[in-house]
């Protein structure tokens, strides 16, 4: 029978999950938790959970009078506001304060999957990558003390005592000597793994504002969370571009602003080179997410479509294009993209993201294919 505290803890977790689920759309839209993320956990600001408690009534209207007064003076009603207006602000926290609860990224991904009804991903092909893993499945006579196998050490010492005739059943003292010591040891085994890589491409040209980049950042957080849950770890690469593209680290990806023109083909070129040289499609489940305001310089579209068709679309599990609306209205790239490829490729998914509220639906569209 479980202890009461465990039952309470389970109940608390259920309540927290319920609250997160209730407010998921808000969390997805506003990205409040991104700054609170560490390796495995994310702190989620929750509205104060209501704890049931007694509320005292006024116990009827009457009461015993105290203090000065003449005989016959009516007794004042308790709980009435004192004359002189409203009192000063209190120093205690009010109801609007938030509490933070830690939740694992896996739990968060599960909630996201449940709420958006996301299908589990079916990795393409077989697991063709092998990774070396240490498995503690053998015993050695030397090793660090922290790995000493006490039971086996005792058994060996016991055997030695019995075989040498020094064991006394009436006084069963067994003292291991150095030669009795047994230690746990490992073997390196090759474990087949399904590898997944996500390549983010973002337009950082002059027309992309900080607000648009925040939309991208929030969407990327949720995409990462879901894919990492599905694959148990993913490789993430970042490409930024204006008229020229380059691969960068995560921080640079979200904090760079350039003033160059928008040439989406430059990002595709870098992405295609990555697929060719570092992430061969035969060994990886590949996901490309591209975000831009869609204001591509006219003549670049053809070049971009050529690279996309030849070198990206046939090789990836998913190519998702999210068009984030700029102050000048949404660009026209998404229309050209749909016009050119239409339904020819089931790996091509597009979504328009007018503002933060559109992230929720965009994620559903991107990840709803189960690829």
């Amino acid at each position: 029978m479980s202890l009461k505290i465990e039952r309470d803890q389970r109940r608390f977790k259920q309540i927290v999950r319920g609250k997160v689920r209730e407010n998921l759309k808000k969390y997805v839209s506003h990205g409040e938790m991104i700054g609170r993320k560490n390796k495995d956990l994310v702190s989620i600001p929750l509205p104060q959970l209501d704890v049931p408690r007694f509320r005292f009534g006024d116990n009827g209207n009457g009461g015993v009078g105290q203090g000065d007064g003449e005989e016959g003076t009516p007794v004042g009603k308790g709980g009435q506001q004192r004359p002189g207006g409203v009192g000063e602000a209190g120093s205690d926290p009010g109801d609007g304060h938030l509490m933070e609860v830690d939740m694992t990224l896996e739990e968060l991904a599960d909630i996201l999957g449940d709420e958006l009804e996301l299908p589990n991903i079916e990795p393409k092909g077989n697991a063709s990558i092998t990774q070396e893993k240490a498995k503690y499945n053998s015993i050695r006579s030397t090793g660090p003390e922290s790995l000493r196998h006490k039971k086996r050490t005792y058994l060996k010492a016991l055997k030695r005592h019995i075989s040498t005739g020094s064991y006394e059943p009436s006084e069963p003292t067994v003292t291991p000597i150095r030669g009795d010591q047994q230690y746990r040891s490992w073997n390196t085994i090759d474990k087949p793994e399904v590898n997944a890589a996500v390549i983010y491409m973002m337009d950082v040209s002059g027309s992309m504002t900080d607000e648009q980049k925040q939309v991208v950042r929030t969407a990327a957080f949720w995409i990462d969370t879901w894919l990492a849950r599905q694959y148990g770890g993913i490789e993430t690469r970042y490409i930024i571009h204006d008229a020229v593209a380059k691969e960068v680290d995560e921080h640079t990806f979200y904090h760079t602003r350039e003033s160059g023109g928008t040439r989406i083909s430059s990002a595709y070129k870098v992405c295609a080179a990555l697929l060719e040289n570092e992430l061969p499609p035969s060994e990886w489940n590949l996901y490309c997410f591209q975000f831009s305001d869609g204001d591509n310089w006219g003549e670049d579209n053809e070049r971009a479509f050529g690279t996309l068709k030849e070198k990206i679309l046939p090789h990836v599990n998913l190519y998702c294009y999210g068009q984030v609306e700029s102050p000048y209205g949404s660009g026209e790239y998404i229309g050209h993209l749909q016009g050119r490829f239409g339904d020819k490729y089931d790996t091509l998914i597009t979504a328009e993201m007018e503002d933060r509220d559109a992230i929720y639906d965009a994620i559903k569209v991107f990840l709803g294919t189960g690829k």
């Binding site: 040209s205 002059g206 027309s207 003033s259 023109g261 928008t262 040439r263 102050p327």
Partner: protein, 157 residues
């Protein structure tokens, strides 16, 4: 006669309907496509200044032209500023900063400074539709001043 004086003269004789005006002075030529002309102002579809002084300039120099324009042209509906610089096409894209946002559409000026031309149009972009150039109204004095400022910016490098 300066470009603006030639344009003023043509405007005085223009009829009320659409008109295409053009004027040349030295190595600069201005083309103005008007959808309407009346006694107070004009409705402009496109304004272009072609200048030999701009030809072959690198993007850094074109950026100086764009900066000069951004400083001078402060009398339109919205201020204009450089947004994107495309080295490959050798073009500076300037737009209204910020654009005008109506309930379901956004409109803004777009000035392209290329190696040879400065052009001005106004675009309207309704949600879910492609953007299209739309005529914008200027008084005759503002049109003339704009042409002067384009010419001055082109000559500034």
């Amino acid at each position: 006669m300066s470009l603006s004086s030639q344009l003023e003269k043509q405007l005085r004789t223009a009829n009320a309907g659409p008109a295409n005006l053009a004027a040349q002075e030295g190595d600069a030529k201005v083309v103005c496509e008007l959808t309407a002309v009346d006694s107070l102002g004009v409705s402009v579809q496109r304004l272009e200044l072609h200048s030999k002084k701009l030809e072959g300039l690198p993007t850094e120099k074109l950026r100086e032209v764009a900066d000069a324009l951004a400083k001078k042209v402060s009398y339109l509906l919205e201020a204009i500023a450089p947004i994107e610089i495309d080295d490959e096409a050798c073009t500076i894209q300037m737009r209204s900063m910020p654009p005008h946002r109506a309930e379901n559409a956004t409109s803004y000026y777009e000035v392209l400074v290329t190696a040879g031309t400065i052009s001005l149009k106004r675009y309207n972009k309704a949600r879910g539709a492609t953007r299209h150039a739309e005529p914008f109204d200027l008084t005759r004095q503002v049109l003339v001043r704009l042409v002067d400022d384009f010419a001055a910016a082109a000559s500034s490098v």
